[in-house]
């Protein structure tokens, strides 16, 4: 039998509050509790609770033949603890079925893999501990933030002992190859890579409710046929998407829940596919080839690269300014500062600063509570200015004195309205 693998990304950032210049040094509380609470409750009611219930029913109805996997960011779990204990409980019930795999990622849903192996590892350890605490599993599959991947990140993940990792089947790295096989890291044959079939994934995640789409309305039966009609020798189809697709991006009125309620039946009873979790897939299938991914890929936007988070001057300056503090952070013992440090690394902050205003810009706007990327940037930098001062204080930082060139002072004297003697 061929394999069908569902993986859902569950994430909510700690959004920053409106933090003005005049708040610097006067307010070390950066996050918008009200907004974060509201959004969490809204998404819980529209998506997490009904969809978890639906998945639970399907798992029970199909006697363990229906399986799914989740990666839940640490800060999202933290927000469940704060605002949505009911959601946390429903995930626990899913975990108890034994048909749900929880995947490792960075605690803060951060871009730390691109900047600091040390910080990256620390955040993964923190997230996996959180998963273990709530769901009783120690993750064995790894998924980096927004499927961001390159050979180096793969090596890092391999070094941490993971044998399975999931990422994007981006056209520009796949070339003629199909994502419907298992691949391996180009230097580490024992790190298996599961690649997203973005065509079929996006049929659900993006196109499902698009009335101008030729396949609208999409029924589970049709989708099951599409899955079934993949080439005879292909082994696995990976459907990876945001969990918020269900009920949040695609509203209940679009029929998304009905679709998902019927899909397990179509696959299990009417196709040559079995549901698997990522670690099961990796255990059961052998790589057809290794894959060399030199330039960083992700699942975002049409470019499938990093430009949603990094690359424009404001994103880069904000990102670099943040990680300049990493050295000092090692000397900081203050728990609140450490906590803020992780939350300020969340990739969403940089996503809000994206200035790509063509077709993808719409998606960015949908996910941002700022009026513009520049407003997001200014707000973030105000916070970072305050944060830097706290970090410096807590780490015992002393600035080094830079000697001023005498030429500067001589020039200065020329412009004074009266002569002075300066040494």
């Amino acid at each position: 039998m061929k394999k069908l693998c569902f993986y859902f990304q569950v994430h909510q950032p700690f959004r920053l509050k409106d933090y003005r210049f005049f708040d610097i040094s006067c307010d070390d509380d950066y996050f918008d509790k009200k907004l974060n609470h509201e959004i969490m409750r809204k998404v819980a009611d529209k998506c997490y609770l009904p969809m978890n219930q639906l998945l639970l029913e399907q798992i029970q109805a199909h006697n363990g033949n229906f399986k799914v996997s989740f990666s839940i960011s640490g800060i999202c779990i933290e927000q469940f603890e704060l605002y949505a204990q009911d959601v946390l409980d429903s995930f626990k019930r899913l975990a108890d079925t034994g048909c749900v795999e929880f995947i490792a990622e960075t605690y803060g849903h951060s871009l730390s893999a691109l900047k600091s192996p040390e910080e990256f590892k620390a955040q993964v350890a923190k997230q996996t501990a959180k998963v273990k605490e709530h769901f009783g599993q120690t993750p064995t599959t790894f998924r980096n933030t927004e499927l961001i991947y390159n050979n180096q990140i793969g090596s890092l993940v391999h070094e941490m002992g993971y044998k399975t990792m999931i990422t994007e089947g981006a056209d520009h790295v796949m070339d003629w190859r199909s994502p419907n096989f298992i691949y391996s890291h180009c230097q580490h044959p024992d790190l298996k890579l599961l690649l997203k079939n973005y065509k079929l994934s996006d049929d659900i995640a993006f196109r499902f409710s698009e009335r101008s789409w030729e396949s609208w309305p999409l029924h589970a039966e049709t989708f099951g046929q599409w899955v079934n009609s993949t080439a005879w020798n292909q082994e696995i189809i990976n459907l990876f998407m945001d969990y918020e697709t269900f009920g949040e991006h695609q509203w209940a009125e679009s029929g998304i829940f009905d679709f998902m309620r019927e899909l397990p039946n179509q696959i299990i009873n009417h196709s040559q596919f079995d549901f698997v979790t990522p670690s099961e897939a990796a255990a059961q299938l052998n790589p057809v080839s290794d894959i060399d991914i030199h330039n960083t890929i992700s699942w975002a936007d049409a470019e499938r690269d990093l430009t949603a988070w990094l690359g424009n001057p404001i994103q880069d300056d904000a990102f670099d300014s943040l990680y300049e503090l990493e050295g000092l952070m090692k000397k900081v013992d203050d728990e609140k500062i450490k906590d803020d440090w992780v939350k300020l690394q969340t990739s969403d902050h940089f996503y809000y600063m994206c200035t790509k205003f063509w077709s993808d810009g719409d998606v960015h706007k949908y996910f941002s509570h700022y009026e513009s990327p520049y407003a997001a940037f200014i707000n973030y930098m105000n916070v970072l200015t305050d944060f830097e001062e706290r970090v410096k204080k807590a780490s015992g930082y002393t600035p080094e004195e830079i000697k001023i060139n005498q030429g500067i002072i001589e020039n200065f004297k020329k412009y004074l309205p009266y002569s002075v003697d300066l040494n």
Binding site: P313, P399, N405, I408, I409, F412, Y415
Partner: protein, 437 residues
């Protein structure tokens, strides 16, 4: 016997506290000074907000004036000014009905009585998108005001009021003094709005006397508008001698802060400030820079700061209200005004009043009168950064400059400026004497 007080009918566009720029502040100071020197001023604005100090000033809101179209005298005046092609919006109109029939005119702002004999115009005030239409309406109302009021001379501040002032002059036959606080070249660089330019020039040509806020502005009027220099007097602005409110520093308490405050547009030279900041930060990495205000170069400056990798030391608090402005001055160690072109520039004086040392460009009008300020060419980024570093590093020099500056500013009283203006009125009214101020 006490001489009869001189009566001035003054047209402005804004008056504190509802102001959006330096014009309102300057008008407030000048009118206060004139009142103190015994001049009787009636100050007309498009609209009153009810928050003005009406006990101190005689203010007239154009939107409160009932324009009487049935009055023969008024119609005769309309006839008289018909030939004035100030702006296509204005003339020739002879009745409220005609206003109603003109589609380019926002008739909703017209409140007409049942007999079509009188009407009131409503004004948005400020600088909205119906600005030219408001300027025209203002001119129509000005005719009624000029007819109703008793005055000796008309004084108009900047182009928005020039059509009104010209109408008032036509109706009353009184002399006109126009006051140039900024020209279209100061506001728009070389991309001048032709309609605005034309109104400025017609105002200057119709005027019997012109007051400029600096010699720099006088030169612009002569070179760019072809105005005869002998007709132009320079009266520098001053500051209201109210005690400065100095707020204690609350943000970045132990850091040095360098401030730019103003519209973030080409004329204000914000880009030079960004480049200078980079150079300062190379030797003083813990200094902070604040660029307060809005404008069409805001994003350029923001992105440039990011490219230079100095965003964490370069802050954009946006447009600040009165309280926040004082707050910012309170924490500022050096104030910089690197204007490319600045007819006067009142904010350095406000900074100095709060004990902040200032660096201003030689290309600003205010540099003509200030002694205790550092003056650099706006384009000389090295001079700018070196003087910022010097002031930040040498506190004793900085303190002395700031202290002397505060004293100097306290001597720049509107009272003195008003005396000059009063002299100009007297000489303008009295033809037998030649004017030389």
């Amino acid at each position: 016997m006490e001489p009869k007080p001189l009566k001035v009918l003054m047209f402005g566009w804004e008056f504190p506290p509802e102001i959006s720029g330096g014009l309102g502040t300057a008008c407030y100071g000048l009118v206060s000074g004139l009142i103190d020197s015994g001049v009787d001023v009636t100050f007309v604005v498009p609209k009153l907000y009810g928050t003005e100090e009406t006990d101190k000033f005689r203010l007239v809101g154009a939107s409160d004036i009932n324009v009487n179209f049935s009055n023969d005298h008024f119609n005769k005046n309309l006839e008289k000014v018909k030939y004035l092609q100030i702006h296509s919006h204005i003339l020739p109109y002879v009745s409220p009905q005609e206003f109603l029939e003109r589609t380019e005119f926002d008739v909703e702002s017209l409140k007409i009585d049942s007999t079509f004999s009188t009407a009131k115009f409503s004004f948005g005030g400020k600088y909205g998108k119906n600005l030219l239409s408001e300027v025209s309406k203002y001119a129509v109302v000005a005719m009624q005001i000029a007819q109703d009021q008793d005055f000796d001379v008309i004084h108009a501040h900047d182009w928005l009021t020039f059509p009104a002032a010209i109408m008032a002059k036509e109706v009353s036959g009184k002399k006109l003094v126009v006051h140039i606080h900024a020209t279209e070249f100061d506001r728009s660089g070389e991309a001048v709005n032709q309609e605005v330019y034309d109104m400025e020039r017609q105002g200057c040509e119709a005027a019997d006397r012109i007051i400029c806020v600096s010699r720099l502005t006088r030169r612009i009027l002569m070179n760019r508008y072809g105005i005869d220099g002998s007709k132009i007097s320079v009266v520098h602005n001053a500051v209201v001698p109210k005690p400065a409110i100095i707020y204690p520093k609350k943000n970045l308490v132990d850091k040095k802060i360098v401030t730019f405050l103003g519209r973030i547009t080409f004329q204000k030279g914000p880009d030079y400030f960004v480049e200078a900041a980079k150079k300062v930060l190379e030797v003083m990495p813990d200094a902070h820079f604040v660029m307060a205000g809005n404008g069409d170069m805001f994003l350029n400056c923001l992105e440039r700061a990011a490219e230079l990798k100095i965003s964490k030391r370069f802050h954009f608090p946006g447009f600040l209200n009165y309280f926040e402005t004082n707050n910012l001055f309170g924490m500022t160690d050096v104030y910089v005004m690197p204007s490319v072109s600045e007819p006067f520039g009142i904010t350095p004086l406000e900074a100095m009043r709060t004990g902040v040392p200032v660096i201003i460009s030689k290309q600003s009008g205010v540099s003509e009168v200030l002694n205790n300020a550092i003056k650099v060419d706006f384009w000389d980024v090295n001079a700018l950064s070196d003087t910022i570093i010097g002031l930040l590093k040498h506190e004793e020099v900085s303190k002395q400059l700031a202290g002397d500056g505060t004293d100097e500013v306290h001597e720049m009283k509107w009272e003195y400026a008003a005396l000059k203006v009063r002299e100009i009125y007297n000489k303008t009214i009295d033809r037998r004497r030649s004017v030389r101020v």
